[in-house]
Amino acid sequence: MKNATYREAVRTALRRALLEDPTVFLMGEDVGSYGGAYSCSAGLLDELGPSKVRDTPLSESGFVGAGIGAALGGMKPIVEVMTVNFSLLALDQIVNNAATLRHMSGGQLAVPLVVRMATGGGRQLAAQHSHSLESWYAHVPGIKVLASGTVQDAHDLLLDALEDPDPVIVFEHQFLYPMEGPFDPDAPRTSPWRAAIRRSGRDVTLITYGGSLPKTLAAADELARGDIEAEVIDLRSLRPLDHATFVASVRRTHRAVIVDEGWRTGSLSAEVAARLAEDAFFDLDAPLERVCSVEVPIPYAKHLEDAALPQVPAIVQAAERAVRGRRT
């Protein structure tokens, strides 16, 4: 298997979908002549033309809604909302239309729409450009939500989303675009709705997704050097959550740390914790631990941003607390 960047993997998936399916098109701000804010669609306008690759005005609500309408009209739009930060402007369309239309119409409508967006911090983009709002999307019935934490998944989950007949939100982490990793565009795909055990271990389960996956794997390596074997679970699908996989893991390890770049209160980590406290309660041998972002607007200055986001040492410490007990 060759190596590729996360960005190239996204681009490969986009190009393939656009080439193979006449109903697929890509639309969003600067996806065309600019090549995408993160260069994920570089060259595609030239190759495929302005009907397949559509630059839109700065109108998040308008073009996300238009994507929903086009889906109702038989197309399979990939709408790129440049980043989750701007998706706040499109939430009404996603929550009130994309997510409701099928159920509310008694099953008459379907919305085969994919919305891609970059999420997360770590690039010194400050308070308005560093949000991690995956938990908000994961809260909404009627949509499905995927988040890729590996190069292969950056490709696979996008194609999976496109094969799904329902509206799917795909999160790409903006810090991961330049990351390299093994990539085979033709590898058989596993179900996107199943979490992946990225590392096996018996002492503690580390549950994470997206941009926090590399950090969590690094923490697991470090823990291994200290004789703690951590199991690392990559959720992949944030809605629905693959409850069975992480509950089963915790039943084996009896301890869990959840790592999530969202602000702690109300992040997705809370839901995972709640489910463990409901359904793995008698198997738990230690209080649950969460490593999340500090609850402040993410600051620009590097040292402050680093302090605000989850980092490897904090994950290591949380896992150690889970395994060895809290100091009092």
């Binding site: 098109f25 009907s51 839109t56 005005p57 109108s59 609500s61 308008g62 073009f63 996300v64 809604g65 238009a66 994507g67 929903i68 309408g69 086009a70 889906a71 109702l72 009209g73 038989g74 197309m75 739009p77 009404d92 369309q93 009130n96 239309n97 239309l101 099928r102 159920h103 509310m104 119409s105 008694g106 099953g107 008459q108 409508l109 379907a110 085969p112 019935p141 009627g142 499905k144 799904d164 007949p165 329902d166 179900s191 709705w193 699908s237 629905p240």
Partner: protein, 326 residues
């Protein structure tokens, strides 16, 4: 004897539909009083010429996107009366299985795409439907209805811009009934001539007397024809008035009786009746017969709704997704 652009037959058909919508809604208000309909109920009484004139000017294959005040639109489009009434009763023979209620009527077989209760929320949907048509070289028109209040929303501007920029086959139909809930047009829009917004986007637009079903029909035909010729979107601002409260919970403190009375003199049904009589002669008995037939249709719809069953509670999660992967 004035002349009309429609034959007597066609004119009578328009009148018949306005009467049907009117009687249907008056009956809705009654059954609301009996608590058979619940939630919000926004009546269209007074505005019938808009839905009737516009939708009858369209082809069956054209798409329609409407608001929460859409009983009339659904009925004119041909959604069976019983299915509309049953929907408001919350029964599974309703046109959305009872899940949508008054604000969310759907009938995809008739390209009636709903029923949107977030003001302005339907506009981008219409733009997208039109985009799909354009991309597939279909000559269909997507007609999008919305109120004067909706034109304050950012999505209105965004939708107009997209439609104009991409020359999409959308027909924007602004039902300017002079109020957004209790706020008069002049108190919510800086420029009460809403067409100016369309013009700022280079969309050909015009004012239409929304109390005159014949004018609405003609204006819509003309606009739809231009759209079908590939000339891009069109915009009509239809001047109309709602005779009743905004919804069933409205004390109407924001307008005076005289204003309402003045507009009622322009009742679209009375107006069309007079016009038809002037042009072709229309016997009182003919009108009475229309009314009686419509009333009977409405009663049948009530019976159908009453006979409807409830969707089983076990089906609550059904149709949340096409493919359930949970």
């Amino acid at each position: 004897m004035t002349s009309l652009s429609v034959t007597k037959e066609e004119g009578v058909a328009l009148l018949r539909q306005m009467i049907l919508v009117r009687l249907f809604e008056e009956r809705c208000a009654e059954v609301y009083g009996q608590q058979k309909i619940r939630g919000f109920l926004h009546l269209y009484v007074g505005e019938e010429a808009v839905a009737v004139g516009a939708i009858r000017a369209l082809d069956d294959d054209d798409s329609i996107v409407a608001t929460y005040r859409e009983h009339g639109h659904a009925i004119v489009r041909g959604v069976p009366l019983g299915a509309v009434m049953a929907e408001m009763y919350g029964r599974q023979n309703g046109c959305a299985r009872g899940r949508g209620g008054s604000m969310h009527l759907f009938d995809v077989s008739r390209r009636f795409f709903g029923g949107y209760a977030i003001v302005g929320g339907g506009l981008p949907i219409a733009v997208g439907l039109a985009l799909a048509d354009q991309m597939n070289a279909r000559t269909r028109v997507t007609a999008c209805f919305f109120g004067d209040g909706a034109t304050d929303e950012g999505e209105f501007h965004e939708s107009l811009n997209l439609a104009a920029l991409w020359r999409l086959p959308v027909l924007f139909l602004c039902e300017n009934n002079q109020y957004a809930m209790g706020t008069a047009l002049r108190r919510h829009a800086s420029d009460p001539a809403i067409v100016h917004m369309a013009q700022a986007h280079g969309i050909p637009s015009r004012h239409v007397d929304g109390m005159d079903v014949f004018e609405v029909l003609d204006a819509t035909r003309e606009a739809a024809a231009a759209i079908r010729r590939g000339e891009g979107p069109r915009f009509l601002e239809l001047q109309t008035y709602r005779f009743r409260a905004h919804s069933m919970y409205d004390a109407e403190k924001y307008r005076d009786r005289e204003e309402v009375a003045r507009w009622k003199e322009r009742d679209p049904i009375a107006f069309a009746t007079r016009k038809l009589d002037g042009a072709y002669g229309l016997a009182t008995a003919e009108v009475e017969a229309l009314r009686a037939a419509a009333a009977e249709e409405v009663e049948a719809s009530v019976r159908e709704a009453d006979a409807g069953t409830l969707e089983p509670v076990e089906d609550l999660r059904r149709d949340l997704y096409v493919r359930d992967v949970g």
